[in-house]
Amino acid sequence: MASTKKTEVGAAPDPAASLRRQRVRWGEKLIFVVLVLCALVSVVTTIGIVVALVSPTIDFFQQVPIWRFFSTEEWAPTFEPAMFGVWPVVVGTFNVTFWALVIAVPCGLGAAIFMSEYASERVRKVVKPTLEVLEGIPTVAYGFFALTFVTPLLRDNWPSFLGEPPGIFSAGSAGIVLGIMIIPTVASIAEDAMHSVPNSLRQGAYALGSTKRQVALKVVVPAALSGIVAAFVLGISRAVGETMVVLLAAGNTPNLTISPVESIQTMTAFIANTATGDIGVGTLKYNTIFAVGSLLFIITFTMNYFAARVVRRYREAYD
């Protein structure tokens, strides 16, 4: 490299010579390497997670047969006698996720339609970043919001024809707040999909005598459908993986139910609750956390994978 430096110093006023590569652009190379490393961080982490999960999970299934994991109905891995039927926490997760979707599907879609089709450009420029800021609110804040605001609200105003009101800890309260929490994610991604529907389609529909509502619901939403579905799947993944809200508001009672009024435990809540400092590495309790973690990983990974495929397909349709 010393020789290149020399060329630089002795650069003659010869025009052809001035075109020669004068030195290696170390800055460029450095940036390239840094950027590649950045990209690798997430890939390596994913691989690392899988590796870290695999070995304790295998240990777990050597101690607890896989059929017992999936075909018994009681989840009490930390009690004596320990029970390892995983369904209560899986169903608990989907219980909360279901109620989250009951809130997030209509609100997220409504917000997306409003921003994309009804809001003026000025309103949109304010609302969209605001929604995206909401994504950054710490989830523990949502947890306390559920516990101290939504739960009392539900308990005090529970219509009697719906039966027993929810308890202090309930799947419904946690689910509703999770739903509110993922509205920004869902709305923002769905809005992106709807916004990228070409204007020529809207014009075509208007020219056929459509009203604004018909343009939105019969042209824009169907055209953006795969993007909208992807938005929901990503929202579901967030809800499934969320820990703080369910830990605080849904209780911690493994419970094979889809009722919103009961206390339940989710997979994440189980993990967070069990992974305390005094847990011994290599114990069955320890391995259980990893087995549940693996299952959670597989569930969210599968959903994200399909969401990504759907998103890719809808991109191809319009680019």
Binding site: L201, G204, A207, L208, G209, A223
Partner: protein
């Protein structure tokens, strides 16, 4: 590229009941320009000026469009052809800043009167755009879209078949009606868009450079098609192609740009007359220069 079967099947001007293609009659479009009630002047602009925000785009257009005619709007780009065309079905309402002065009459009724619903206007006056813009739905659903949003009580299969016949597309797509319209070629897509516009039984078709994205073969098909359609509909077409205007139009409107010394340029209607006269015997100096190719 044999147009013959389409031509004979699409319409026969001599015998009205036989107008329709095989399946069933096409009552509405035939009835519209019939003798009596509807005027011979379908559309009429009176001192029509259009502004975008404070900026004048086109000034003082007087133009009458007779029934069952093809009227071509020609002129250099930016002279306001699309702007004027979009006044006829109030598509300019979709541009927030757009504003008009003057009048646009449809069978004598003011389209911009306060109790006219622009959505209703577009039921009667269809539009075909420069770029084919089929919906990402099946061929069938594309054509059924208009009748469905308008809740027209029609036999949908019959409408789809009739419109595809009228747009000379039936033979090419009859076996793939349920497939996506996005799989059609550009020329087929544009004919699908024409068929789609016909499905709501309008009596005017506005076309904004419908062939500019198409190759010459597809263009020739659309031009043939227009000749068939003019028996049933009134057509206003914007084109940048003077040869096309000569080939298809009964009457031609030539727009040009005024460049006042002290302000912004705006479009005006320089000449409007029979196509033959406008191209061979123009009265206006600017038209003369433009049609002879001297215009800058």
């Amino acid at each position: 590229m044999d147009e013959q079967p389409d031509k004979t099947s699409t319409a026969d001007p001599a015998a009205e009941p036989a107008v329709a293609p095989p399946p069933a009659p096409a009552p509405e479009p035939v009835a519209a320009p019939g003798p009596g009630a509807p005027s011979a002047e379908v559309l009429k602009a009176e001192q029509l000026s259009v502004y975008y925000g404070p900026k004048l785009a086109v000034q003082g257009v007087d133009m009458t469009i007779p029934t069952n005619n093809i009227v071509a709007l020609i002129g250099p780009s930016g002279c306001g052809k699309s702007t004027i065309l979009r006044c006829y079905n109030r598509m300019n309402d979709l541009v927030k800043t757009a504003r008009i002065e003057g009048k646009v009459l449809y069978h004598g009724a003011d389209l911009y009167s306060s109790h006219v619903d622009p959505v209703e206007v577009r039921k009667h006056i269809g539009m075909v755009f420069q770029q084919p813009n089929p919906f990402p739905k099946s061929i069938y659903d594309n054509i059924a879209f208009g009748p469905r949003v308008l809740r027209m009580k029609v036999d949908m299969d019959e409408v789809v078949e009739r419109c595809l016949h009228q747009a000379a597309l039936w033979d090419e797509v009859k076996d793939r009606l349920k497939q996506s319209a996005l799989g059609l070629s550009g020329g087929q897509q544009q004919r699908l868009c024409i068929a789609r516009a016909l499905a709501t039984s309008p009596d005017v078709l506005l076309m904004d450079e419908p062939c500019s994205a198409l190759d010459p073969v597809a263009t020739a098909r659309i031009e043939d098609l227009m000749q068939e359609l003019r028996k049933l509909y009134t057509i206003v077409i914007v084109t940048h192609n003077m040869q096309q205007a000569i080939r298809v139009a009964d009457r031609t409107a030539f727009f040009t740009v005024e460049v006042p010394s002290d302000g912004d340029r705006y479009g005006v209607l320089a000449e409007f007359g029979d196509t033959d006269q406008v191209f061979n015997n123009p009265i206006d100096e600017r038209t003369k220069r433009y049609v002879s190719g001297e215009f800058g």
